[in-house]
């Protein structure tokens, strides 16, 4: 077996544990159903591009993006844990190159992102099936979003994990960063109607772009602006990915 496949096997074994499933499946379900229906009374419908969605459909589709982001966090923690528990060094004195290790983490993040997106799409489907506008772009958009999104957020988690020394620091920073991404985005509520500074903040946030693209795929609201968002997402993901690789390659032992 190729060394990258062996490392990937190992990464998936250590990440796909019960804690991961609770975080990735139970929490989003509870959130979609509880918040989705609780707020329906307050938010009857959300204008999204030219169409109008009911709130449960809006939040279920936003949750796909949120879940992609969170899943990369889980796999980004692999690098952090490997450093903390000595597995990083152990792997590097084993039958692997540093590039094998880095690539196996990239694949892990992409796979976990895809799994997460699929899970939430399946779970959320009953909520948004009325509004779904299946077309040729739906599946490619979801795959594009999962992979670009997971590489982008996975790079952020990796960058943080290479920069920090203390373990409390990692959790505090990663949670703060991801909390900011989650709530200053259109994942849970629309930009329209939000105060101007907040609405501007939404568009400084890659998660907003990610959920816009996912929604465009699901609800068929593709337009020029979404194309621009895809371009931005790929660019930002590439830059962050480059930085993450560079830091990992230079990581001192």
């Amino acid at each position: 077996m190729h060394p990258i496949i062996r490392l990937l096997n190992r990464n998936l074994t250590i990440s796909l544990n019960p804690g991961f499933l609770v975080w990735q499946v139970i929490f989003p379900i509870v959130y979609i159903f509880v918040a989705g229906f609780a707020y329906t009374a307050l938010i009857s419908s959300v204008k999204f591009g030219d169409i109008s969605l009911d709130y449960p459909a809006f939040i279920a589709s936003g949750m796909i993006g949120f879940n992609i982001m969170n899943s990369t966090l889980v796999s980004g923690i692999i690098i952090w844990n490997d450093r903390r528990h000595g597995m990083f060094e152990q792997i590097l004195v084993g039958p692997f190159k540093r590039s094998h290790y880095i690539l196996s983490n990239v694949y892990t993040i992409a796979i976990v992102g895809l799994i997460s997106a699929t899970l939430i799409t399946a779970i959320g489907y009953p909520l948004f099936f009325k509004s779904v506008h299946f077309n040729l772009l739906t599946i490619p958009f979801l795959v594009f979003a999962s992979i670009t999104g997971s590489i982008l957020f996975g790079s952020i988690a990796s960058i943080i994990s290479t920069r920090l020394k203390s373990s409390e620091g990692f959790n505090v920073i990663i949670n703060t960063v991801f909390l900011f991404f989650a709530f200053v985005s259109t994942a849970f509520y629309p930009a329209q109607g939000a105060p101007q500074p907040l609405a501007t903040g939404f568009y400084l946030n890659p998660l907003t772009y990610l959920v816009d693209i996912i929604r465009a795929g699901i609800f068929g609201t593709f337009n020029e602006f979404v194309m621009f968002e895809m371009f931005v997402l790929v660019t930002v993901a590439s830059i962050l990915f480059g930085i993450a690789i560079k830091l990992l390659t230079k990581l001192n032992l």
């Binding site: 077996m1 062996r6 490392l7 096997n9 190992r10 074994t13 250590i14 544990n17 844990n81 528990h85 000595g86 597995m87 060094e89 152990q90 792997i91 590097l92 004195v93 084993g94 039958p95 692997f96 190159k97 032992l253």
Partner: protein, 312 residues
């Protein structure tokens, strides 16, 4: 030759951790690397196992240039670093098995070896426990056991017995002895002289990044470990003691606080019997008596002194 290095240097800024080391280590032997904390043992292991690049010098491992072909070297060696390494959320059993998978050991072989190693390293009681729930010593045992899941031609162990209780320590040393008898070459670092003596065919003594001596344990001991220290602690302070013992020649007796007699000599046992007979004759009660083996520190001091003397 399993390991050959020439003028190996590693510096961290101004600090020279490894200061010009030449090694020629034959296969099928246990080679001990003995030195106090901070001597440069771990840095040397990291250099030899290709984890870090040297500042200058050459390294040949199993006939391969370790600087040009690090991956080919790593495929043929086993490494237990000083730093703990473990998969926190896997069970002991599962982590051994996964480690075998990482080394591309086939499923059946790694299952069999996992069972065997759990037996040999006495891990039966903790085989289902998660690594994060183990004590430091248990974790260390798992870490060492894990390395034997794959085949190798050369094994590096960096202070593997630290944190082990005496039973587990002896068990590990005997296991390593057997492996060496079967032809495995072992590079073993320690700061414990008795351990190196028990296990190694050859010992290099290292201090401040430099090798002070390379020799067989017997030879090292006869050169540097002859002198023993025996300490007698008396119940009361005896004023006439210096006078009583003044007739014993060829040894050093210190009257520390007036209640301690310290004998330091290569013939310490003989002198001890003379001292004891005098104490008994004079009815002087002894509270405590202890013999101290020559410590590494003493060996280093002597070696450094001799080096300096020969340089002058």
């Amino acid at each position: 030759m399993s390991i050959i290095t020439r003028s190996l240097f590693k510096s961290y800024g101004n600090l020279v951790a490894v200061n010009g080391i030449d090694l020629d280590i034959r296969g099928g032997k246990v080679f001990g690397f003995l030195g106090p904390n901070g001597a440069g043992k771990s840095t040397t292991i990291k250099l030899l196992t290709t984890l870090i690049p040297p500042t200058s010098g050459t390294i040949q491992i199993l006939g391969l240039d370790a600087i040009k072909n690090p991956l080919d070297v790593r495929k043929r060696i086993g490494v237990v670093l000083q730093q703990p390494s473990y998969e926190p959320n896997l069970s002991v059993e599962k982590s051994l098995e996964k480690y075998g998978m990482m080394w591309d050991v086939d499923r059946k072989t790694r299952k069999d070896r996992t069972d065997e190693l759990i037996d040999v390293f006495e891990l039966q009681e903790i085989r289902k426990k998660k690594n994060e729930d183990l004590s430091i010593g248990q974790r260390r045992r798992v870490q060492v056991a894990r390395e034997f899941i794959h085949d190798m031609d050369l094994l590096f162990l960096d202070e593997p017995t630290v944190g082990l209780d005496p039973g587990a320590r002896r068990n590990l040393l005997d296991f390593l002895k057997n492996k060496a008898r079967d032809g495995l070459t072992i590079f073993y670092t320690t700061h414990v002289l008795t351990e190196a003596e028990y296990l190694c065919d050859e010992i290099a003594v290292i201090n401040k990044g430099k090798i002070l001596a390379v020799d067989s344990p017997e030879h090292l001991k006869s050169t540097f470990g002859q002198e023993k220290t025996i300490k007698i602690h008396l119940l009361d302070r005896i004023e006439k003691l210096p006078n009583l013992l003044s007739s014993i020649a060829g040894c050093k007796i210190d009257f520390n606080a007036g209640t301690d007699i310290i004998i330091q000599s290569s013939k310490a046992e003989i002198i001890l019997s003379q001292v004891l007979s005098i104490l008994i004759e004079n009815n002087i009660p002894i509270e405590d008596l202890s013999a101290m083996p020559t410590t590494l520190e003493e060996i280093f001091l002597k070696m450094v002194k001799e080096k300096n003397a020969s340089n002058n």
